[in-house]
Amino acid sequence: MAVDKVIEIPVSLEVPIGPQHPALHEPVMLKVYAEGEEVVKVEVNTGYNHRGIEKLVEKNSFYRNIFIVSRVCGICNIVHSNAYVRAVEQVMGIEPPGRAKYLRVLAMELERIHSHMIINAIMAEVLGYDTLFMYIMRDREKVMKAKEILTGNRVLGDYLMVGGVRRDLSEVDRERIKDVLIKLEPEVRKYIRVFEEDETIGKRLRGVGVVKPKDVTLHGLVGPTARGSGVNIDARREGYDAYGEVPFNIIVRSDMDSWSRMMVRWHETIESINMCKYVLENLPSDGPAVPDETKLPRKFPVGEAFTRVEAPRGELTYYVMSDGRQNPWRVKIRTPSFNNIINSGFSYIGYTIADVPVILTSYDPCISCMERAIVTDLRRGEKKYVRFKDLNRGLK
């Protein structure tokens, strides 16, 4: 009997996994439209985390804003304050001493280590590999200890100030941080082996969420997401702070899939550990790392500056404009996740619903970084007929 008619039955399914979700820690909503199991369209829908920071910093003075911008994102607070402080320094014409620059690099690299470890841990949990999650989180506590020794707090240290850093590093603390890093490195190498050799991880990550180099630049993707696709974008090459003096390799892999992005992060962790060791061994003592707060200028010249920092998630940019008053006229923050998450909707198409959390996690979503978020829509790939509507509001 020949089939001459097919009746398609509209199936609409909503799977609300959020907005709170145990594994993923931020409020974002992905509207996934799927046909059967295949994703045909994705809308990124957030805005739960918009705190109006750009308006808030216009109402506060240049120095008070250092505390506000570090609270844009707790995970990458030092890179945020670094970008802001360097922009203010550019406007005011202040150059911090070499020791302060080295200490800033040390703080930023420690932050990169813990950020990369936490997203790899979360990736392990998303894959259902809870044991690995717990192991990585246990070893991550070592880095938090090192951060605490350096900045005074585990997460938000408010370590930077205009003209330097807030506390100097003593000889004893230097040895303690070095000790932590020496203990950490074999653990990280162990996890790299797990990610390379484990069959389950390979099956879930390899070939999933392929992003071509052309799409990276057109959609403005940055950071490990770009480097995992073979596009060598790294703001550290500008040589800000002491990055011009500390030797490091930029990790670029060309597999283009989720696995490649996670491996970029792991190898950058090793690279960061080596950078931290270099900084600790070659810390110059050319001037006081902590400037005298009472002698900082209270008048601000008219001017503007645009700074880029390589945050753990990619290129972070700050634009600071002063009109000569106590408060900045305009501060524009463009965080890496703002580009990586909102513009990456295209990359989910053609994969299954189960792959969506994996792909999203591989971009390292930092929703509080986006903090103002929008709807993405993709015009291509949309099909006219019945949609199996699936709502994955995971990633709380």
Partner: protein, 147 residues
């Protein structure tokens, strides 16, 4: 970049530099799309990306300033395309079809500052501005918004 210096000669109203070491190129507002198209053709698909779009309000001048921050790849130079829009009617052509990555920046600039990107179908209010502010028809980053 040779192609760029030709473009500067052809379109720029004025050029100056911003700290640290960024070249600012001011262009008339109706040429934005034309210039970006020429730049994209000069650099190729993987040669350049739109890093940031910054809108700034200047109530004294009755103007809104729009900056496009472009980063070239792989040599990592930052160029700033700057254009001025009238404050009452801030309209500019969307560059979404050239650089899909401009989506986040354009949507944000509309919701916070009220710059209309003609051709971008995705811009709308309440993207992230809460309903009570958006319903008052004010844009938070305007200096006179009062929020």
């Amino acid at each position: 970049m040779e192609a760029l210096s030709e473009l500067v000669k052809k379109y720029a109203l004025t050029t100056y530099s911003m700290k640290p070491n960024r070249l600012v190129i001011e262009i008339p507002r109706d040429r934005v799309k034309e210039v970006l198209k020429a730049i994209k053709e000069g650099c190729g698909d993987t040669g350049i990306y739109v890093s940031t779009i910054v809108g700034t309000d200047f109530p004294d001048k009755k103007q809104v300033r729009l900056d496009y921050y472009l980063v070239t790849h792989p040599d990592d130079n930052v160029y700033v395309l700057r254009t001025w829009l009238p404050r009452e009617d801030p309209k500019v052509d969307s560059i979404l079809d050239l650089f899909p990555g401009a989506l986040s920046g354009e949507c944000e600039t509309y919701d916070l500052l009220g710059v209309v990107f003609e051709g971008n179908l995705f811009i709308r209010r309440e993207f992230f501005v809460p309903t009570d502010v958006a319903s008052k028809e004010v844009f938070p980053l305007r200096k006179d918004s009062g929020v």
